[in-house]
């Protein structure tokens, strides 16, 4: 059925649920249950990580199409099926999810003390939903995972969150609900038109131009909230501030990528004309996001809020790259997403380290920590530099590629979307200075301890990945080179399609070009109805 001969993706997706079931079946006094839950969750997530590494070895980067494909009939009469598969665009996000989950579980080892079993369960369910979403090749399956991610996330914020968790969770919910409903409508419209929810078919379906515009806006409503794009970003700082550390890590690391992934999976390839048409709007919103939220980050007094706002700015760079619709821009956007997943996750972990010790995120409560915490200072420095895009770290590669892609669109787009170079450095260095530099004057900070071995273990893989991605990015980017090239090629072909259409029908032969396939798909779906 696929190159490994067994349903690897489904196994990776649903194994965490099995671990969850084991956790639920544990009996005993509270401490035992908690300890068992931790170990079970950790081992489950590590096994899942191990399995997902098969993807790393066996994925063929030369192919642009979907690999490890699985397909089971589900509701055949409606054209709905259980379809899974990964291509170059999604495969690394599966790995990102499976990497961050054990990191988060390890980071919550001591930080979570109440309802440990439920917490670990929520995390494993979350992993299933995230991985499932990146693997889904059927729109209905995708939609279920896409929405399903929110349930454990709601719970993680709402139950283990900070004092204003209710407010944050409701805000989170209200924002995402509106978008989800519109995406559902888009799903139904697409199904209505194409007669199936198979994404591989939808990718080859040429939707009429006007329909594309409406579909694009519906997708935009959903994905823009998830990215989040300006001006629907304000749920993010609140959600981050209230979420426990591990929740923030996953939120920033993986959940923020869902929106951008949606753009790359649906908007750009399925709605090529609309993507080109709305690109200026996307650029405007993105550039405003970069400048606006970077400035807002500068004014923050809460560490987590500052990093949350920086995420919005970084994701603005991602959306610029995606809608530049050229190879450098899209590659840069993908790389920036992966990099941001690791780096912002790590930055939230950095905040978590001192939050666990002092129980405050107020920047003014800190100062001079590098004296007592040299290893922590070094780690924080590395991730700060990756965040500001220092060459040699993962942050730079995406940034420069997006700048190059953006310049092919417009000079000012490149210049303005790169202002994060200055503003990002301003708020991050200012944060670092207030927390780690200066004289240690606050008496309660005197006894603060440096990274524990467990914390060092949490950071170690992220440090390695950040530097690896920065020094030899090709070992990551070669996964998506072919897929991105195909995506851009198809987009450009679709823009030129009307002219080629007549030519191809006249020739009357099976042509491999994307434009022609789109045409035949329209024909067959028309016949089906």
């Amino acid at each position: 059925m696929n190159q490994v001969g067994f349903p690897l993706l489904s196994l990776i997706t649903f194994l965490p649920l099995l671990g969850g079931a084991v956790i639920m079946s544990v009996r005993g006094d509270e401490a035992t249950v908690a300890q068992n839950a931790r170990w079970t969750a950790l081992w489950t997530s590590l096994i899942v990580l191990g399995l997902s590494l098969i993807l790393w070895w066996r994925f063929d980067p030369a192919l642009a199409g979907f690999q490890f494909a699985e397909s089971l009939p589900w509701l055949p009469e409606f054209g709905v099926g259980y379809r899974m598969g990964v291509d170059g665009i999604s495969v690394l996000f599966v790995l990102l999810s499976t990497l961050l989950t054990p990191v988060c579980i390890l980071a919550s080892w001591e930080a979570i003390t109440t309802r440990v079993r439920e917490f670990m369960l929520a995390f494993l369910v979350l992993e299933t939903m995230m991985v499932g979403m990146f693997c889904a090749l059927d729109f209905v399956v995708f939609y279920m995972f896409f929405e399903g991610v929110l349930i454990p996330m709601y719970l993680i914020i709402g139950v283990w969150g900070g004092p204003r968790r209710v407010y944050a969770a409701i805000k989170f919910f209200l924002y995402t609900l509106a978008g989800s409903v519109l995406m559902l409508l888009a799903l139904l419209a697409m199904w209505h038109f194409a007669g199936t929810t198979d994404m591989t078919v939808l990718l080859r379906t040429a939707f009429p131009q006007t329909m594309q515009y409406w579909l694009f806006l519906a997708f935009l409503a959903s994905f823009a909230v998830k990215v989040p794009m300006w001006p629907v970003h304000t749920w993010l700082p609140d959600a981050h501030v209230e979420a426990p550390t591990a929740g923030s890590v996953i939120l920033a690391g993986v959940l923020l990528k869902m929106g951008a992934y949606g753009f790359l999976r649906f908007s750009v390839p399925m709605l090529p004309q609309a993507s080109a048409y709305f690109a200026p709007l996307m650029f405007t919103l993105s550039v405003v996001a970069v400048i606006y939220t970077s400035l807002v980050a500068l004014a923050q007094t809460d560490m987590k809020k500052l990093i949350a706002y920086s995420s919005v700015a970084h994701m603005g760079v991602v959306t610029v790259g995606i809608f530049s619709l050229n190879i450098q821009g899209v590659s840069g956007a993908l790389f920036q997403m992966l990099s941001h997943g690791v780096v912002s996750g790590a930055l939230f972990l950095c905040v978590g380290v001192i939050y666990d010790r002092m129980h405050t995120r107020e920047i003014a409560r800190y100062g001079g920590l590098s004296d007592r915490m040299p290893a922590y200072a070094l780690t924080f420095m590395l991730f700060m530099m990756a965040s500001v895009g220092l060459p040699g770290t993962s942050g730079f590669v995406g940034e420069i590629l997006v700048a190059i892609g953006a310049l092919r669109v417009n000079f000012w787009l490149a210049l303005l979307s790169s202002t994060g170079m200055i503003l990002g450095a301003a708020y991050m260095l200012y944060l670092y200075r207030r927390v780690l530099f200066g004289r240690l004057t606050k008496p309660d900070l005197r006894g603060i301890l440096d990274l524990s071995p467990r914390e060092a273990l949490v950071f170690a893989p992220l440090v390695v990945v950040t530097l690896w991605m920065g020094v030899y990015p090709s070992s990551f980017s070669h996964f998506f080179d072919a897929s991105v090239a195909a995506l851009v090629r198809n987009q450009q072909a679709a823009m030129a399609a009307p002219a080629r259409h007549a030519l191809l029908t006249m020739a009357g032969e099976e042509v491999v070009g994307p434009g022609s396939r789109a045409v035949s798909a329209v024909g067959s779906s028309g016949d089906a109805r």
Partner: protein, 643 residues
């Protein structure tokens, strides 16, 4: 290959010293990082010698792919040509001296210094990557790496608020320039389809006629690229407008200042201009801009240098001014001359800073020249080497600076254009001021009556040998590097020395014409230098009351100069404060009031009603359950409708 060893030995030393410093101890960490530097210096100078005298082939060492996306490709590679090799040799040699000197200078620091040595080596490594880059993106890697290392070193004493502020300022001002540099790289790729130097340089001619539409007009694209890259160079090389970080950078320990001002960092901009000479030869407007900016900086910084009282600040402004000289040379097409001055300057500026460090060391940390004086007999070696450094800086014949500065001014006079003349006039005026403030520094620091407290004076002592030996080595360089390299760099041997590393366009004969400048013009800088020295002698030895009287008589001008032309105040008022105010208002008005107004209204509605309907331990779960339900209902309804 030894060339690669020269580049990578420092980073190895840095990593070991930095990461294992606590484990292996301070002494071992120092030893490792110095060992790395010594290896680098030996290898780097051998590689240079092979190229300069051994007739080695130029080329590049390929280390692998870095970034690739579609046709975009940037490799890790070490370029080996005269320009890179001479920079590698200079950087490694000077940096090694600074490392050794630091053992003594940092000896009294209350903290272990492995971190310091690790940063120094990192700094050197970044600069080496910059100068050996074979493509613009790797050059940018070194460029930003230098920025990082300077940030770490300027803020080395992180407990001092002023050091932290200076470190951030250095990083941010550089980043402003780097933004333009990065966009310039993007534009290079857009135009040439490559960022590799060989590909760019080979194709420059084909793109000479192309235009690029920006800022409401259509400009020659090579000019646009040139301007963007030059703005980047202005940031690193502290040219007027983007210079404000450099004087503040002296917040770092003195060896750091020496490293920044002499070998690494500030020379990067000049290097970039020389490296891009094949492209700039097709961008005459940018070249004119370079001369104007360089000339203005040379003069501006010299005027400020005349009024400063902090010994390091005077030298810092002199760097700013000397960098201006390098740019006026490059701007008239004499890139070779600008690199020549870069090399000689590296020796005497490192010497001056380390000498100043020796003075500060002797004066128990005092940096204000008004609190010095009368110490020359107590620190004879320092005194002598400071003389040598200042003689070289002022361009007094047969010292290093004389050859390079003369060549610069002759080149500017030689081209005979308006901007060339501007550069020449600024340069000659700055030569006068340079000599003046140099001797002002010497006199105020070493001569006259002791102005320091008796306790400090009793403690004044010559520095240990570990500091003096580097000073003497650098002093030898400050004396001989000018006459030693003159023939090859800018004299009759320049053609086979530089080969294709630096390109002079077909109409550019400036180097060939250097010797044809009239005798009177060639003598002018020397005359101005001697006059400046005489004025300093007159004001600070013969009539010591004169400076104070002048300052009072010309109060506004004096304050204008003392406050460095109010650049910092201007930026603070125009950029920093408005940005912070805007940040606060965007947050509190934009986000909290406007954007959040809508959902907050809805949210409070939802919380109120839910609080009344369900009483669960956590209200949020109820909301979720409730909302899931709504979602399910919606889903089923729509599904049924469409069936």
């Amino acid at each position: 290959m030894i060339y690669a060893a020269a580049v990578f030995a420092p980073i190895l030393g840095s990593a070991i010293a930095g990461l294992l410093g606590r484990a292996i101890g301070d002494r071992a960490a120092q030893a490792v990082s110095i060992l790395g530097m010594v290896i680098a210096a030996i290898c780097g100078n051998i590689a240079f010698a092979e190229l300069a005298w051994g007739g080695a082939e130029t080329g590049s060492v390929d280390l692998g792919t870095w970034i690739s996306a579609g046709p975009f490709h940037a490799a890790w590679a070490l370029r080996y040509d005269a320009l890179s090799a001479v920079m590698v040799a200079m950087v490694t040699l000077i940096s090694t001296m600074i490392h050794i000197y630091s053992v003594g200078y940092m000896g009294h620091d209350e903290y272990p210094t492995y971190r310091f040595f690790s940063y120094l080596s990192l700094f050197t490594f970044a600069m080496l990557m910059l100068v050996t880059a074979d493509n613009l993106v790797q050059l940018f890697f070194g460029w930003e790496g230098v920025g990082l290392a300077s940030y770490l070193l300027i803020g080395y004493w992180y407990e001092k608020p002023s050091a932290c502020a200076a470190a951030i300022k250095a990083f941010l001002v550089n980043r402003v320039a780097d933004l333009f540099f990065a966009v310039g790289i993007a534009l290079v790729f857009f135009v040439f389809g490559s960022v590799e130097f060989p590909a760019i340089f080979a194709a420059v001619g084909q793109h000479a006629g192309e235009t690029y539409a920006v800022l409401g007009g259509s400009w020659p694209v090579l000019e646009v690229i040139g301007v963007l890259l030059f703005i980047g160079a202005m940031g690193k090389s502290a040219q007027i407008g983007l210079h404000t970080w450099l004087p503040d950078a002296m917040e770092g320990p003195t060896p750091v200042s020496a490293l920044i001002h002499a070998a690494t960092m500030v020379t990067a901009g000049v290097f970039l201009v020389a490296r891009m000479s094949p492209l700039l030869e097709f961008a005459p407007t940018v070249k004119a801009l370079i001369v104007i900016v360089g000339g203005s900086t040379a003069l501006f910084a010299a005027t400020v240098g005349c009024t400063q009282n902090d010994i390091k600040r005077v030298i810092a402004y002199s760097t700013c001014s000397q960098l201006g000289y390098m740019f006026i040379a490059a701007g008239v097409g004499a890139y070779q001359v600008s690199i020549f001055h870069l090399i000689t300057h590296a020796f005497f500026k490192a010497l001056l800073f380390l000498g100043a460090g020796s003075v500060i060391h002797a004066m128990s940390g005092e940096q204000d020249m008004r609190q010095m004086g009368g110490i020359w007999k107590k620190v004879p070696v320092t005194y002598v080497v400071m003389w040598i450094g200042n003689l070289a800086l002022a361009g007094i014949p047969f010292f290093a600076g004389y050859y390079s500065k003369d060549a610069i001014l002759e080149a500017n006079f030689d081209v005979g254009t308006g901007v060339g003349l501007y550069g020449f006039v600024c340069g000659v005026a700055a030569a006068f001021l340079t000599a003046f403030y140099s001797w002002r520094l010497l006199i105020m620091t070493f001569h006259g009556k002791p102005r320091a407290e008796a306790g400090v004076m009793a403690h004044v002592h010559e520095s240990p040998a570990v500091m003096l030996v580097p000073l003497i080595v650098l002093a030898i360089g400050a004396v001989f590097s000018g006459m030693g390299f003159h023939a090859q760099f800018v004299g009759e041997g320049w053609h086979e020395f530089w080969r294709s590393a630096i390109v002079n366009g077909p109409g550019n004969h400036v180097l060939a014409d250097l010797e044809r400048v009239p005798e009177s013009i060639a003598l002018l800088p020397t005359v101005m230098g001697v006059l400046g020295i005489a004025l300093a002698y007159g004001m600070y030895v013969a009539a010591p009351s004169l400076p104070g009287a002048l300052a009072r008589a010309f109060g506004p001008i004096y304050r204008f100069l003392l406050n460095k032309w109010y650049f910092d105040e201007l930026y603070d008022a125009v950029l920093v404060r408005p940005a912070l105010a805007l940040a606060r208002s965007l947050w509190q008005v934009g986000d909290a009031t406007l954007i959040d107004g809508v959902p907050n209204g809805l949210a409070s509605l939802a919380t109120d009603s839910s609080a009344q309907v369900v009483k669960l331990q956590t209200g949020s779960i109820a909301i979720y359950a409730f909302s899931m339900l709504i979602g399910l209902v919606l889903l089923v309804t729509i599904y049924l409708l469409f069936r």
